[in-house]
């Protein structure tokens, strides 16, 4: 931060400082004689209690108020005014790799406490993924770095300024020879501007962009086949038939939120007449996209190329004109399967879509683009957009950089973000290379593995503390504005980029404003700028698809064909993403979507492979790949490809902080340049050791119970009430007189299991909104996790070709609640709006309510989990929701604080609450809009209309608990040609 800003900061708060520091005031407070004798005698009288309280409020708010100095515009009405007790929403953007997601941040008294999607932003459309939700906690991470460090000791930013100015003059002579920058990827006008300026100043310097997981392969393929600087944009909403090849487009590919929203649009079925898309998934390890599939083929990642060739051959047979795809006779899957798929694609020309995942090599992507072209999908379901202001990842450049570093060609290396010592390919030995560099600088939020080996460490501000800008994938220019002054005095990306390029220490606000002066159209900049800040994005960004002509590039079958039977290893992104979120307790404790593992990663193998190798769950194994070895426990995962070891990245950190250090195993140790995403020839051997993992779901089968009710689209059309007909029960009568639910608001919820994809965003949104604490690995192992909304995952069908179904289970808010009746102290009671309320202060913790809850959605505080919160983490808590101490039962309340806030607002405005005005946290975050909430007493409300649909059913309704939450039964839409066909393995 510049001195100017610091001074302004002081000035801004001068009055309060005066209040707190006023000597007279202090004297009065501290003097034992300031009060009259009577008050003295009574110890703490009302008056001196209030005096003390007001002083501590003043002091507390001085410490707590870290509102940024520059003017930003709240999203809702009432700008520039904060009413204590009322939240405010500001629009900003979370940059992520080469894309970004538009968000709204709920701030309370200057503290960001919750992230929501920005409904006006095309990248989020009001929803977010779980990682965006959890990024809030990173802001309050007490382990974040607080000081500039130089060679292991604390230093000042001023010294860094003089260091860099010296370096600039030094390198100016040689135009930057010996200088290199390794940055994360970005799509940002300001960062791009300063990168270009840096390159202009030092043309001989290297600037390398790299990420451990990126769209590099996709960009390479697009650059080669469709033209430079483009990126594909998938329109899942327009597709009737979708084929996903090793692509988890619903969760881990770029822009998963908008993809999921589009996919759900084509998936949502309300009546028997509705259309429903069909999803084919080919993948090596189970993903949520695979769980959503109508047909899923498990296939080694390396064989996906073979499958694409086979599919090309098959499509040619059906008369499609495809050039440049090598012919193949080898089949990697059943012919019937492939032929049914090909027929389906051909009969949906222009309405189908083939997507390949970012792990697949460029030739596969090229072939996929060609197939899409032949199917007439380009311009319809697949379009191309410019990569605006994007720094493209480049693995080759990273290799060259490492070589140059080892050769001593690099004198000064500046690492902007990232953690290359931890996550660059193991064969590069980046740590050794970095140690040999004379001057190294690392900009990082933590003193992590890389910072520990760098000469300089610069603390990096969180995006919620920074000014900046970003362009999301579809091309929307968005602004990043701070919600709070940097808590630990970090420096934002734009400030550091600008300083490196110009040597001038300018405040981030000015830097970004300068950029946008050129971006926004001429005339009345102030007004437009204010609008951009208000919206979080430039709404009139021109968005247009690029016209492309697909080149007929040559693809050699040798690049892709793969038939060996060696053991494959592949790497995939975990709940911690690539490891950057390792110190985030919410993500560590989030049950992984497929395995339900927390706090650790494990090598996933299929049941058949486990049987062949005689391996048990949680057994430690030694995996050897080339000269690299790793010991890691195995976890048997039905549905994974045989003879494949899937390794989640991001664990086994040593420099992340108190949460992340020691959690899991560092799989990067096996990841080499030639096995970046997958490779073959791994060896696995037993060690006869057991490592206990923390899994939140012990039992994976439904035991034939009508819990998640599912049918095919065809069956549904034949018998629309199949879900209700699955359970027969006698007439339901209660012993006790019923409550009257006919008047006023009656809250209810509907969860559509057909669009729910099990992404966990709801679980995390709930955690963030409702101050749900993490409990740690040991407590999770005991079965004491506190997530109010758990996401049940069941495997169904054959163990070799299983399907997965998900069911989010919040409190069902029973009208005839079994928990209420058994509580001896009436701590859980019903309200007039049909909610089952929990009075924490009344609860004595008998746990009888939980025992009697058929859904087991109540959560108990076995210990005082809130004790572990540091002062800084306390700032992340929602002040509208009580903190629960030890010995108290807690559970989902349908976000009663949100209900009350909106009801109060409506009452003040003398009107009724409108449908959709109250959104629960889980509903708001859901990328597929599977959760709907509202007043069931209003027949026009969305939730009431959904409850009238034929697929609506209540879980365990036969127990006469009358849940307010209901589910819409799941549907699958299998290809009629594959009727009674068991999806094969590859």
């Amino acid at each position: 931060m510049s001195d100017k800003v610091k001074n302004e900061y002081k000035k801004y708060w001068r009055s309060i400082e005066q209040l707190a520091d006023n000597p007279e005031y202090r004297q009065k407070l501290l003097s034992p004689y300031h009060a009259n004798q009577e008050e003295q005698d009574s110890g703490l009288s009302r008056r001196n209690f209030l005096t003390l309280m007001s002083a501590s409020f003043a002091l507390a708010s001085l410490a707590g108020c870290r509102r940024p100095v520059e003017k930003i515009i709240p999203y809702v009405a009432q700008p520039e005014e904060i009413t204590p007790g009322l939240g405010q929403y500001y629009a900003t953007t979370m940059p992520f790799g080469t894309s970004a997601i538009g968000i709204l941040v709920h701030t309370r008294e200057g503290r960001p406490i919750k992230i929501e999607g920005n409904p006006d932003h095309p990248s989020s459309q009001g929803a977010t993924d779980f990682i965006t939700q959890a990024s809030l906690l990173n802001l309050y991470d007490p382990d974040r770095s607080k000081k500039v460090r130089h060679r292991g000791t604390e230093d000042s930013f001023d010294n860094f300024i003089s260091f860099w100015r010296e370096q600039m003059t030094l390198f100016a002579a040689d135009k930057g020879r010996g200088l290199a920058v390794l940055s994360e990827t970005f799509s940002s006008p300001t960062l791009n501007r300063y990168r270009n300026e840096f390159i202009r100043t030092f043309p001989q310097a290297k600037w390398v962009c790299w990420e451990p997981f990126s769209d590099e392969n996709i960009f390479r393929a697009v650059d080669r086949i469709a033209g430079q600087g483009l990126r594909p944009l998938y329109h899942f909403d327009r597709a009737e038939v979708i084929l996903a090849l090793d692509s988890d487009f619903l969760l881990y590919e770029s822009d998963a939120v908008s993809a999921a929203r589009g996919f759900a649009k084509g998936r949502r079925v309300l009546t028997t007449d509705d259309r429903m898309n069909r999803l084919y998934v080919v993948e090596s390890n189970f993903t949520v996209t695979g769980a959503m599939a109508d047909h899923r083929l498990r296939l080694k990642s390396r064989r996906v190329g073979n499958l694409v060739m086979a599919l090309g051959t098959e499509l040619k047979k059906l008369g499609l004109n495809i050039d440049g795809i090598p012919e193949t006779s080898s089949t990697v899957c059943g012919e019937k399967w492939l032929s049914a798929l090909a027929h389906d694609l051909v009969s949906n020309r222009g309405k189908s879509l083939i997507v390949a995942g970012h792990r697949q090599p460029p030739p596969v992507h090229e072939m996929v683009i060609k197939l899409n072209e032949a199917l007439g999908n380009i311009g319809a379901t697949l379009t191309f957009r410019k990569r605006h202001e994007t720094a493209v990842p480049n693995s080759e450049a990273l290799n060259h950089l490492a070589t140059a570093m080892n050769d001593g060609d690099i004198e000064t290396l500046i690492i902007l973000g990232g953690n290359p010592v931890y996550n660059t390919p193991a064969n590069l030995k980046f740590n050794e290379a970095l140690t040999g560099i004379k001057n190294s600088v690392h900009l990082s939020s933590h003193v992590d593995e890389t910072s520990q080996l760098s000469a300089w460490h610069i603390p990096r501000a969180h995006y919620l503390e920074s000014w900046g800008d970003a362009v999301s994938s579809e091309g929307t220019y968005s602004v990043i504005q701070p919600m709070i002054e940097p808590l630990f005095g970090g420096y934002s990306d734009v400030e550091i980029f600008a300083f490196l390029a110009t040597g001038l220490d300018k405040p981030g606000y000015d830097i970004v404003r300068d950029t946008w002066k050129n971006l926004l159209p001429d005339g009345d900049f102030e007004k437009k700028w204010r609008q951009v800040l208000h919206d979080g994005l430039y709404k009139s960004t021109p968005l247009s698809d690029e016209k492309v002509s697909i080149k007929n590039t040559a693809i050699s079958p040798d690049d892709i064909a793969n038939t060996d039977n060696e053991m494959e290893i592949n790497f995939y992104l975990s709940s911690l993403y690539d490891g950057r979120f390792a110190n985030n307790g919410w993500l560590q404790e989030l049950p992984e979507a497929i395995t339900r593992l927390t706090w650790d990663n494990a090598a996933l193998i299929s049941p058949a492979t486990a049987k062949r190798l005689r391996l048990k769950n949680q057994e430690m194994v030694k995996i050897e790949y080339k000269e690299h070895t790793l010991e890691i426990p195995v976890w048997i995962c039905p549905g994974n490809a045989d003879n494949t070891i899937a390794l989640p990245l991001g664990y086994g950190r040593t420099g992340s902080g108190r949460i992340g250090n020691g959690a899991g195993f560092n799989t990067y140790l096996l990841r080499t340049g030639d096995c970046h995403y997958f490779g073959s020839g791994a060896k696995i051997s037993k060690t006869n050791k057991i490592y206990e993992l923390a899994n939140t779901q012990d039992h994976n089968r439904m035991e034939g119970r009508p819990i998640i009710r599912e049918a095919t689209l065809e069956e549904y059309r034949r018998s629309p009430n199949f879900a209700k007909e699955m359970v027969e029960h006698p007439p339901l009568k209660s012993l006790y007189p019923d409550h009257d639910y006919s008047k006023g608001y009656q809250w209810g919820m509907v969860i559509d299991l057909n669009t729910c994809m099990g992404c966990n965003a709801c679980t995390l949104a709930c955690q963030s909104e409702n101050n749900i604490q993490i409990v740690g690995k040991e407590q999770v192992q005991k079965g004491r996790e506190l997530h109010w909304l758990r996401n049940d995952r069941y495997f169904i069908g054959d163990i070799d070709a299983p399907k997965i179904v998900y069911q989010p289970v919040p409190c069902q808010q029973c009208e005839n609640a079994p928990c209420e009746q058994v509580c001896p102290v009436a701590a859980t009671v019903h309200d007039s709006e049909g909610l089952n309320n929990m009075t924490y202060n009344r609860c004595i913790g008998t746990r009888y309510c939980s025992n009697n809850c058929p859904y087991k959605v109540r959560r108990f505080n076995f210990f005082n989990y809130i004790n572990k919160l540091t002062e800084i983490e306390k700032m992340a808590q929602n002040p509208d929701v009580s903190m629960r101490s030890r010995g108290v039962m807690e559970k989902c309340t349908f976000c009663i604080q949100r209900i009350k806030t909106v009801k109060t607002r409506a009452r003040l405005e003398n009107r009724a609450v409108t449908d959709g005005e109250i959104k629960t946290a889980c509903q708001q975050v859901c990328p597929t809009q599977a959760i709907q909430f509202g007043n069931i007493n209003d027949p026009a409300s969305r939730v009431a209309r959904l409850k009238k649909t034929d697929r609506n059913y209540e879980l365990l309704a036969e127990y006469n608990v009358r849940p307010r939450n209901s589910y819409l039964a799941k549907l699958r839409n299998p290809n009629p040609r594959l009727k009674d066909y068991k999806d094969e393995t590859g």
Binding site: P824, R847, G887
Partner: protein, 455 residues
Amino acid sequence: MPEDAPLIAGHPTFGDITDQISGITERRTPPVWYLALGAAVSLLMVLVGSVGYLVWEGVGIWGLNNPVGWGWAIINFVWWVGIGHAGTLISAILFLLRQRWRTSINRFAEAMTLFAISCALIFPAIHVGRIWVVYWMFPVPNQMGMWPNFRSPLLWDVFAVSTYFTASLLFWYTGLIPDLATFRDRAVKKIKKYIFGALALGWRGGNRQWRHYELAYLILAGISTPLVLSVHSVVSTDFAVSILPGWHTTIFPPYFVAGAIFSGFAMVVTLTIVARKIFSLENIITVNHLEKMTKVILLTGSMVGYAYGMEFFIAWYSGNIYEQFVFINRAFGQYAWAYWIMIGCNVIVPQLFWFRKLRTSITVMFLASILINIGMWFERFVIVVTSLAQDFLPASWDYYKPTIWDISTFVGSFGLFFTLFLLFIRFLPMISMTEVKAVLPEADPHNYRHGDRHE
């Protein structure tokens, strides 16, 4: 009604009885008592330590988890309450039924009841999450005008168990009064005289006093009798009123009462065998007494076995898949070992008592009585844990394992039990002198054993 053998062996006189029973407390304290008390107090300290740590840290120190919200604490509670059934049953119901053999064991059994209920009461108090507000369970007037929830079986428990404890205590104390007066009269030291004098409530043994006393005793027996049946019925509603498969069972009240009598008698047998041996009371507590108790054990054990079978039948007959699963799972699921321990101890072991030879063998009945109490503990374990661990939604299923603190709290509760018991046998008449005297031939004016009986 002629009896096969005299209830008290060896034709003692009233004086002999007084000397024998009072002598136990008047003689020098035997070293073995100190040893036993030392061991019991050590265990009691384990309980104090475990509860102290529990209050400090929270119920998380136990093995409880999300589906299994109740574990050893509730199992121990039900088990101890069950044991507490024999005393009042012997005193009250057998008194009303004119079972004269009860006189040798009733004091003993009643004391055991009180101590067992004391142990039992610890558990519901400490198992709550916020122990410091456990008094909210009582209908205490408060500034919020809050009543407890009268629909909750836990509240019924509070009333049922505390009523039972109070009635048992009064009954026991009333029975003690004449004996306390005897102690007062025999006391040499002034302090002892003073204490027993106060406790004896001015008992002089006059005719009017005896008339009032016997009437009061009869009334108390009448009041206690329904309590014997009600307390465990109410405890069973903790489970039966819920909707959980394996708990929601109408058979529970009678089944729990039978089980409670079963385990209570087994505990009386265990303790009696030890006490009669150490204090040479074989003449007063004869094998005949013990054999009668084994008959009660055989009867109630068979009732319990019938209940186990009936639960399975109803589960099948209900057609409810959740219900059916729970019972099949009990026998063959993750806790099958506990189930078969229960069946072995509670159903098979009592069948030994069909044979007179085994019924009269002290060794057999001692071992069997211990096995039965192990079995009855496992019965509660099976009911509480298996039903909770695997209920409706398989996704929430989990496995429950106790921790060292579960075990130490349970073991420590024996410390409390035995400490109280040892103090009791050292300082109070462990056998009711008054009532034993009443069954001696001298007490019978008709002297039936030696002459004609007038009906």
